[in-house]
């Protein structure tokens, strides 16, 4: 590890709020990645007739355990349970429901309030809210991360080319982006949703078509400013090529602006997906999603646990990401010494103003 990386890490750690947010978020995310082991309608491990079975990884027909059907075993069925427990044992995950498991044993009509069985109650189709949350969190974050990564790569590349070469390239690109941003995204999505069945990757592609533009302006302004600086001239005098100059000299300057923007793009991506789900144009029906939970909360005001849960999960997730983003920005700022903990440095503010001015031109 070079001293530079070490100092960046130290700066990241110095932002206590961001540092803790990072760990909390990481734990939540890793846990949700293993959602199948936490909330599932299949046992983790079965010991049956001196043999081990792993229902999470393999599909076993009911006949394996002495049942009658050739179909997959329904482990929640009381009859099957008795069969297995008679000749062995089962280890269940802490939440014995998957995101699509319907609890038919509800004492009250769905949506059921929180109870020992369903910790945050059930939704209006009798599905466990905690299970749906865990799966929904995972899909939201993954969607957001993938979309942010792709749109950042495209946006930075487009902005870099525009800003660095300037002139006609810049002019044509800018006009194209202005027209492109004028397209009504939501209508297009609604129209497309009626043509194709939106899946995770379809939605990602559709949103990517429009989300890459958000970084272009920032990066372009930074490149426009930097391409006339002496150190870029110095690099040219050293014989560096255009790509080298862009990547080595100008991009690192654009990185703080980019990284400051990234958590917002990530949050924006997550919110967009949630909004689409809320409106019913998002992921296919039955998918676990926070937007769908919010919609249920709105439809069932008599069951406040639905709306409140969705709200708190979204609010906490988005706040954690913003805090992490702030800490990342601090880490990459070479003017930040560990002792100084002011949130905005005057130099940074001036640079931001200059960038804004140029963007406005």
């Amino acid at each position: 590890m070079t001293p530079l990386t070490r100092r960046r890490l130290a700066n990241f750690k110095a932002n206590r709020r961001g540092f803790w947010s990072f760990w909390i978020f990481l734990v939540l995310f890793v846990v949700s990645l293993g959602a199948e082991f936490i909330a599932n309608d299949k046992p983790l491990l079965i010991r049956y007739e001196e043999q081990y079975y792993w229902p999470v990884f393999h599909t076993y027909p009911e006949t394996t355990f002495g049942g009658e059907f050739e179909t997959e075993t329904d482990y929640r069925d009381a009859y099957v349970r008795d069969l297995i427990n008679g000749k062995g044992w089962m280890v269940w995950p802490p939440i014995p429901y998957s995101y699509r498991t319907i609890n038919y044993n509800l004492p009250v009509p769905a949506p059921a309030p929180p109870s020992a069985d369903n910790w945050l109650g059930t939704d209006d189709q009798g599905r466990d809210v905690v299970a749906r949350l865990i799966y929904g969190f995972r899909i939201s974050v993954l969607f957001g991360l993938v979309l942010t990564a792709f749109s950042s790569v495209i946006g930075v590349a487009a902005g870099a080319v525009q800003g660095y070469f300037g002139g006609l390239t810049d002019l044509l690109f800018q006009r194209f982006i202005e027209i492109w941003q004028g397209l009504p995204t939501l209508f297009l999505l609604i129209i497309l949703a009626s043509v194709v069945t939106p899946t995770f990757w379809w939605l990602l592609g559709l949103l990517l078509l429009f989300s890459w533009t958000s970084l272009v302006h920032v990066v372009r302004a930074e490149f426009l400013r930097a391409r006339n600086l002496d150190y870029v001239r110095a690099a040219k005098a050293l014989g560096a090529g255009d790509v080298t100059i862009m990547v080595r000299h100008v991009l690192p300057n654009a990185m703080v602006a980019t990284l400051t923007f990234m958590p917002f793009i990530l949050n924006g991506s997550i919110t967009t997906l949630t909004a689409l789900d809320f409106l019913g144009f998002g992921l296919p029906p039955g998918s676990p999603s926070l937007g769908e939970l919010l919609a249920q909360g709105k439809a069932n005001l008599q069951a406040p646990w639905l709306g409140l849960t969705a709200f708190f999960v979204l609010a906490i997730m988005l706040s954690l990401l913003i805090f992490i983003g702030e800490a990342v920005r601090d880490a990459f700022d070479p003017r930040k010494t560990i002792a100084q903990m002011s949130t905005a440095l005057p130099g940074e503010a001036a640079a931001a103003t200059a960038a804004r001015k140029e963007a406005a031109e």
């Binding site: 110095a234 005098a237 050293l238 014989g239 080595r248 000299h249």
Partner: protein
């Protein structure tokens, strides 16, 4: 107030301290400074950047960024009024009225959206409550006073339509509008060309004697001090280390720092390499023209001739100094020689014409010709470590493996007088002089034959300038380098160059051996430039702009 004894001095500053709060700690910018200014006197505050001279000046008018800055102790009395911690109302009556101030950069201290008339009228309206016709008459009178040509035409002009010297004249007119008792001039000529600097200084001196006003002159330039001041306060690290009459100070400096400052002028003589050394870089009739486009179809209607048919030749081990005022095309000439700027005319490097070479073909040659820029703050990538900055050229030209490169970087750092450990740090951790050393190391590590030095010393403090000049001369002797040394500072040029070219408006006015140019200049413009730069004398000559 009435209980205070009457103040015999116009302004007396006693035990002034200024602290800046920053994060956890506080920085002491000024640590107990005391001085007096009498009526009609000129006091100079001299010091290098960071010595606290500007902060001292700003605290007189209480213009510091409070509450970030604060005064733990001290007193500033103007006549019988205590200014330190005075009410905003009291201060407003003093500011721009009894005490006026002019700043270093006249472009940023004038409002770009207001005409000259409006800027000057503002002070008149605020303090004198004149009617608009009376104010107009007074503004005209002031503009005439500060020697602005055609003042009637200039009334409606905007700051960007004026030259730097004209803008500074407008600033002075604004400051004089209410006939202040004290004028604070914060580096009033630093941003100006030498000939203009001489004119502005002469103007200030003339106005001062005419109005009998006191002048507090803040500067880093000892030449200006000698020319202008009655008394001098030398500041270093927030303290006044020496206070003396100007003649005494220059003849008998007492404090060690003053002695250091006085001996800091670039000294020494250029090397004397053999006259018949091989030509490294030469250009014949080099031209750089920028088209002026006008009209709907953007047709080219004319050209700005930044460099207009210049012949230049630099021999191995020689330094050619290029002097001239801003806008004379000297930097463009340097960039064009390195093919960093499009140009016409032959450019011969090592005997081969490289004009018209493709960038790819040129890339191999880049390691042999290097450049050091003026601003050491702008020429180093702020987000690369020093080691990465210096090692970059090695990587591009595929010199050595990573171990060898690191050793070469360390050697280059040692050669410019920096510890090799510096390579793991970022540029912003270094001072201006150290940064310039890093920039020199970056050029040097490639072992070039020819280096363009574009005002490498003008952004630096005086004592650092001398060190950099010594360093450049050492390096030249060691590696037998050819330099093209671009500068407006004739003293530095004299200490380093064997030949001098004087440029004006893209053309070479005069060229020849340094000694000949300095001792018997043939052209009128060269004479005016020398008088202004070395003796700060304003020369009335058609060759000099106003």
């Amino acid at each position: 107030m009435s209980l205070m004894p009457p103040n015999p001095d116009l302004l007396s500053v006693r035990g002034l301290r200024v602290d800046f709060r920053s994060g956890a700690g506080a920085t002491q910018a000024v640590k107990g400074v005391s001085f007096d200014i009498q009526k009609g006197e000129t006091l100079a505050l001299v010091g290098e950047s960071g010595s606290g001279k500007s902060v001292t000046a700003l605290s007189i008018l209480q213009l510091l960024p409070y509450p970030m800055a604060h005064h733990p102790a001290g007193s500033i009395r103007f006549r019988d009024t205590e200014l330190l911690g005075a009410e905003e109302k009291t201060l407003r009556q003093v500011r721009g009225n009894r005490i006026a101030m002019i700043f270093q950069e006249p472009m940023t201290s004038l409002n770009p959206l207001h005409s000259i008339e409006r800027q000057i009228n503002e002070t008149l309206f605020l303090h004198k409550r004149l009617s608009s016709s009376a104010a107009r008459a007074r503004t005209l009178e002031l503009l005439r006073l500060v020697g602005l040509l055609d003042p009637e035409k200039r009334l409606t002009a905007y700051p960007h339509e004026l030259s730097g010297g004209q803008r500074q004249r407008v600033m002075i007119a604004m400051a004089l509008a209410n006939e202040p008792d004290l004028l604070i001039a914060d580096e009033p000529t630093t941003a100006l060309d030498v000939t203009i600097q001489a004119q502005i200084l002469a103007l200030l001196k003339d106005l001062q004697s005419r109005f009998g006003m006191a002048l507090l002159l803040i500067t880093h330039d000892l030449g200006v001090v000698r020319k202008m001041a009655d008394r001098v306060c030398v500041m270093n690290q927030g303290e006044i280390v020496e206070q003396a009459k100007v003649d005494d100070l220059f003849i008998r400096p007492r404090h060690a720092y003053t002695k250091k400052l006085l001996s800091a002028e670039p000294r020494g003589n250029p090397l004397s390499p053999p006259e018949d050394a091989t030509e490294v870089m030469a250009a014949d009739r080099l031209k750089v023209h920028f088209p002026i486009k006008k009209g709907l179809l953007r047709r080219t209607v004319g050209h700005i001739k930044a460099v207009d048919g210049v012949d230049v030749a630099v021999r191995r081990g020689h330094t050619v100094g290029v002097v001239g005022e801003s806008g004379s095309g000297k930097t463009t000439l340097g960039l064009a020689l390195l093919r960093l700027h499009a140009s016409q005319g032959a450019i011969r490097f090592d005997g081969t014409d490289i004009q018209g070479w493709q960038p790819k073909r040129l890339r191999g040659l880049r390691r042999e010709m290097q450049i050091v820029f003026q601003d050491p703050y702008g020429s180093l990538s702020p987000r690369l470590s020093v080691g990465q900055i210096i090692g970059e050229g090695l990587g591009i030209h595929g010199i050595g493996d990573s171990k060898e490169r690191e050793a070469m970087v360390a050697r280059a750092l040692e050669e410019v007088g920096l510890p090799p450990e510096a390579r793991n740090r970022y540029p912003h951790e270094f001072s201006g002089g150290q940064r310039q050393r890093i920039a020199i190391a970056r050029a040097l590590v490639l072992k070039p034959k020819f280096v363009v030095l574009d005002e490498p010393t003008s952004a630096l403090d005086m004592s650092v300038q001398a060190q950099i000049v010594d360093l450049l001369r050492d390096i030249q002797a060691r590696h037998n380098l050819a330099y093209l040394f671009i500068s407006h500072d004739l003293r530095v040029v004299r200490a380093l160059s064997s030949h001098v070219m004087v440029m004006k408006d893209g053309k070479v006015v005069e060229q020849g051996p340094t000694q000949r140019i300095f001792e018997e200049p043939r052209e009128e413009y060269t004479r005016a430039l020398l008088a202004a730069a070395l003796n700060l004398e304003a020369v009335e000559s058609p060759a000099v702009r106003t």
